[in-house]
């Protein structure tokens, strides 16, 4: 059976390590990036089943990356979850406007994040 691929992009190493560990335990193949430029490169190379993006990253922020993901034919339908420390509701609205499927604020509930990720992937396949 094909392993689900996930790209996690965040400039906070603990987020990368923690999410990588829990998604690997859930049977995902995990690729990571710690800035916006690497994130775009990894997404292009991996063609993932799910993308988790931090909003604030060096070079490209989560909004820009999400826009580029939606604009590229190969990744246009890949579910995107945006994780953010930002509290403003405008950020959540903008995230959905640029095509994100979900917006989760940090600190987040890890088990809920995994459940949401699974649901989004299932929805994108049906």
């Amino acid at each position: 059976m094909k392993q689900n691929r996930i790209v996690i992009a965040d400039d906070d190493p603990i987020v990368i390590k923690f999410l990588s560990a829990i998604f690997q335990d859930e049977g995902f193949e995990v690729r990571t990036a710690d800035d916006g430029e690497k994130a775009l490169k990894v997404i292009r190379e991996t063609r993932p089943d799910l993308i988790i993006l931090d909003l604030v990253m060096p070079y490209h922020d989560g909004f820009e990356i999400c826009q580029q993901v939606r604009a590229a034919a190969l990744t246009a339908n890949v579910p995107v979850i945006i994780l953010s420390m930002k509290e403003k509701e405008q950020d959540a609205i903008r995230a959905f406007e640029v095509g994100a499927d979900d917006f989760i604020r940090k600190p987040f509930n890890a088990l809920e994040l995994v459940a949401r990720a699974r649901k989004l992937m299932n929805d994108s396949r049906t």
Partner: protein
């Protein structure tokens, strides 16, 4: 002048200088070696800790999303030095996660004896050790530390008191938060802003307690509590805040109005509209500001009436509120251009300019739709009548479309109307 005998001749001085240079050189060399060795040792220790952290992290990550007790997940019993690593891992996790993962981290701290360790340190004679212990207990969020932390809110050192208070704010139980609301009663010992910040961080849990204790609070604490309700945007506080709009104290009424605006519940509009008629101008101003934050339209007529309020602050807030009310609010501002009250009309112009509507009207001067064009021309004529031609003059020189520049120049009288030249 002759050189003294002891400085020349027998070569002893050369030996002395030689040994002196040698000794100083040796000391420097020794210092350099000590610095290099200690740096290398520190890097070696840090590298070792980094490696141990990498080794331990997966076990702790598995534990926080798993089921059993921490002991089942540890690769081996923890060495003393590794306790710092465990703390760091859990504190880092605590920054990014909440819910059950955080609770399991807290359970691990209790099981591994961290809480006992810091409770002991909290009783240290050294204040900085007590301060550090209070901070760590707060980060661990264990309810078992509540009593000791409450005791240390009376510590003789202010820094320890503040860290104990912050720690109680992160524990967030009613037992932990109640002493913080009481701290609001003692402005000589506690900064109200600092305590309010801690209570705001605790969120809805602190609202519950403040609501229970509100009527027993002195005036300055009531004011702080109202601000906290607004900052937390708690729906639970709405009914109290509406009651407070009828308080005999104008400061309370004004702050209650502001807090209702911050919460943003549109069903508060009728209460705030009533406050636009308050006898105190600060209450009216805050009510107008609050209405500008609510997504509703029932207050538009009352806000238009406030544009002729005797106080400029009320008029300014009412105009700004109308700008935020969408098409109907902007329509009301356009109608105010005909107002006999010059100040109200000027406020309306300013808000229409800020909302971007005047730019849109200027663009409509070139519209092919005759009605739209006439509408825009009428508004421009009103602006000229009010002598608010700053934007029009600027656009007459800088607008990218030449026909709009020409039309604006004609409206402003900068060039004659084509019929006049004909």
């Amino acid at each position: 002048m002759t050189t003294p005998q002891w400085l020349v001749g027998n070569g002893q001085i050369h030996d002395l200088v030689f040994w002196l240079i040698g000794a100083v050189g040796s000391v420097f060399l020794l210092l350099v070696i000590i610095i290099i060795v200690s740096k290398a040792w520190r890097e070696y220790v840090e590298e070792g800790l980094r490696r141990r952290r990498v080794e331990l992290e997966p076990s702790f990550f598995k534990y926080v999303v798993g089921q059993g007790p921490i002991e089942n997940y540890l690769p081996r019993p923890l060495a003393r030095k590794e306790r710092v690593l465990v703390e760091d891992i859990f504190f880092d996790l605590g920054r990014i996660v909440k819910g059950s993962v955080r609770e399991r981290a807290r359970d691990a701290f209790e099981k591994l004896g961290f809480i006992e360790h810091y409770l002991e340190k909290l009783e240290s004679r050294r204040w900085w050790t007590r301060a550090e212990a209070a901070e760590k207990l707060g980060l661990m969020g264990s309810e078992r530390a509540t009593r000791s932390l409450i005791t240390h809110m009376d510590d003789q050192v202010p820094e320890v008191r503040v860290r104990a208070a912050r720690a109680l704010g992160t524990i967030r139980t009613s037992e932990a938060l109640r002493p913080l609301t009481r701290a609001l009663l003692d402005p000589g010992r506690w900064s109200a802003i600092r305590v309010a910040g801690i209570l705001i961080g605790a969120g809805d849990e602190s609202v519950e307690i403040l609501l229970q204790e509100f009527h027993a609070l002195p005036m300055h604490a009531k004011i702080a509590a109202i601000d906290i309700f607004g900052r937390i945007r708690s729906l639970k506080a709405i009914s109290l805040l509406r009651e407070l709009l009828a308080s005999p104290d104008p400061d309370i009424r004004a702050r209650a109005a502001f807090a209702l605006g911050s919460i943003g519940d549109p069903t508060s509009a009728s209460y705030l509209t009533e406050s636009l008629k308050d006898k105190n101008w600060a209450v009216r101003a805050m009510a107008a500001k609050a209405l500008g934050r609510l997504k509703e339209e029932e207050s538009i007529d009352a806000l238009c009436a406030s544009l002729v309020d005797p106080q400029w602050w009320v008029r300014a807030n009412a105009a700004e509120a109308l700008k935020n009310k969408g098409t109907r609010g902007v329509g009301a501002l356009l109608a105010m251009l005909d107002s006999k009250d010059v100040y109200a009309a000027q406020q309306a112009v300013q808000m229409l300019q800020e909302s971007g509507l005047l730019d849109e009207m200027i663009s409509r001067l070139a519209s092919e739709d005759g009605e739209q064009r006439q509408n825009a021309l009428d508004i421009m004529a009103k602006l000229v009548k009010l002598k608010r031609t700053d934007l029009l003059t600027e656009m007459a020189h800088t607008h990218p479309e030449s026909n709009i520049r020409q039309r604006l120049a004609i409206i402003l009288g900068l060039r004659p109307h084509p019929r006049q030249t004909a």
